[in-house]
């Protein structure tokens, strides 16, 4: 190469500004994917409703830094099955199998509409991948008379997902006031349109050891 235009640090030819910009953009893509441990960029097939996304962003407090090598996740129910019975419904979540063993905090957020009559008594079970026949694990119970968003803390051990990352939760409603019935409760409670879609709020410890340690180059 002609020494006149040699790049000072690598001995290669100095890049023209456009060439340097293109190189920087490629570098940025590699750096981001490597930093997120992704092999390719995610393809968003089911865009989230803006209201649900806004709520998630508010929940994740974008300003606060995540403590070293931890992650926060908001996972919206992908399937809401209300037909299982009058008093029961099933929520399906698609998590990443990698999170299973590093999950240390889990809450299920449910929205109780203002039109809801009386006292709500709710029990939450973890189901196997089938339709919750037979084996199901009790996770939590909740009772409330107020409407609005409710956060139900779940034992993180109860959310270990299979290899597929699928987590199925069964909600069981029971009317407490004699004159109110649970009939149609699932329809009332579980909004599938997406404005008040139920979601899981998770906190995960990153899985590689010493992730926060400064890497020496």
């Amino acid at each position: 190469q002609s020494t006149r235009s040699a790049c000072p640090s690598c001995g290669g030819p100095t890049l023209a500004p456009q060439g340097e910009r293109a190189l920087v953009l490629e570098l940025a893509k590699q750096q981001i994917l490597e930093g997120l441990h992704l092999t390719s960029r995610p393809r968003i097939t089911r865009p989230l409703p803006q209201a649900a996304l806004t709520r998630a962003l508010r929940r994740l407090q974008p300003k606060s830094m995540v403590p070293g090598n931890r992650e926060k996740v908001i996972s919206f129910a992908t399937i809401i099955d209300k037909s299982t019975s009058t008093y029961r419904s099933m929520l399906t979540f698609q998590l990443s199998p990698l999170w299973s063993h590093h999950l240390y905090h889990a809450r299920l957020w449910l929205h109780v509409p203002p039109s809801f009559p009386g006292t709500l008594y709710l029990r939450i079970f973890r189901c196997g991948t089938t339709r919750c026949r037979g084996s199901r694990t009790f996770l939590a119970e909740h009772q409330t008379t107020s409407s609005g968003w409710h956060a139900l803390t779940l034992p993180s051990s109860g959310l270990r997902s299979e290899e597929s990352g699928v987590v199925k939760l069964q909600l069981e409603f029971r009317p407490l006031d004699l004159n109110s019935t649970a009939a149609g409760l699932p329809r009332l409670l579980l909004d599938t349109a997406g404005q008040q879609r139920p979601f899981l709020e998770l906190k995960i410890r990153a899985n590689e050891p010493g992730a926060g340690r400064a890497r020496r180059r």
Partner: protein, 114 residues
């Protein structure tokens, strides 16, 4: 460390702001809108080897002059990052989950000669 000017041949920090819109990634990276992709480039002659950056203290400047007048065997010294900070990202993963994470050592803040 100074940011590189076109005529700066010595080790410095080259600043580039990357807007995720320019990458076509704003559909899955929710926040921030972009980030500083800085990198280090420039020569590290022997008398700068080991200096934390061009704008060193007076003592290390004198020490560098002494080194320059008594060149040691030519060891190669490289222009490398000497300070970096994490980047906080909010993004949608392959399953449509909203993930917030801090990627360590993502932004180069200072360069110096190894």
């Amino acid at each position: 460390t100074p940011t590189c000017e076109p005529e700066t041949p010595l080790c410095c920090r080259r600043d580039h702001y990357v807007d995720f819109q320019e990458l076509g990634w704003r559909d899955w990276i929710l926040q921030p809108e972009g980030y500083q992709l800085n990198y280090c480039s420039g020569q590290c002659p022997p008398h700068l080897a080991g200096s934390p950056g061009i704008a060193a203290s007076f003592h290390s400047a004198v020490f560098s002059l002494l080194k320059a007048n008594n060149p040691w065997p030519a060891g190669s010294s490289c222009c490398v990052p000497t300070a970096r900070r994490p980047l906080s990202l909010l993004y949608l993963d392959h399953n449509g989950n909203v993930v917030k994470t801090d990627v360590p050592d993502m932004v180069v803040e200072a360069c110096g000669c190894s």
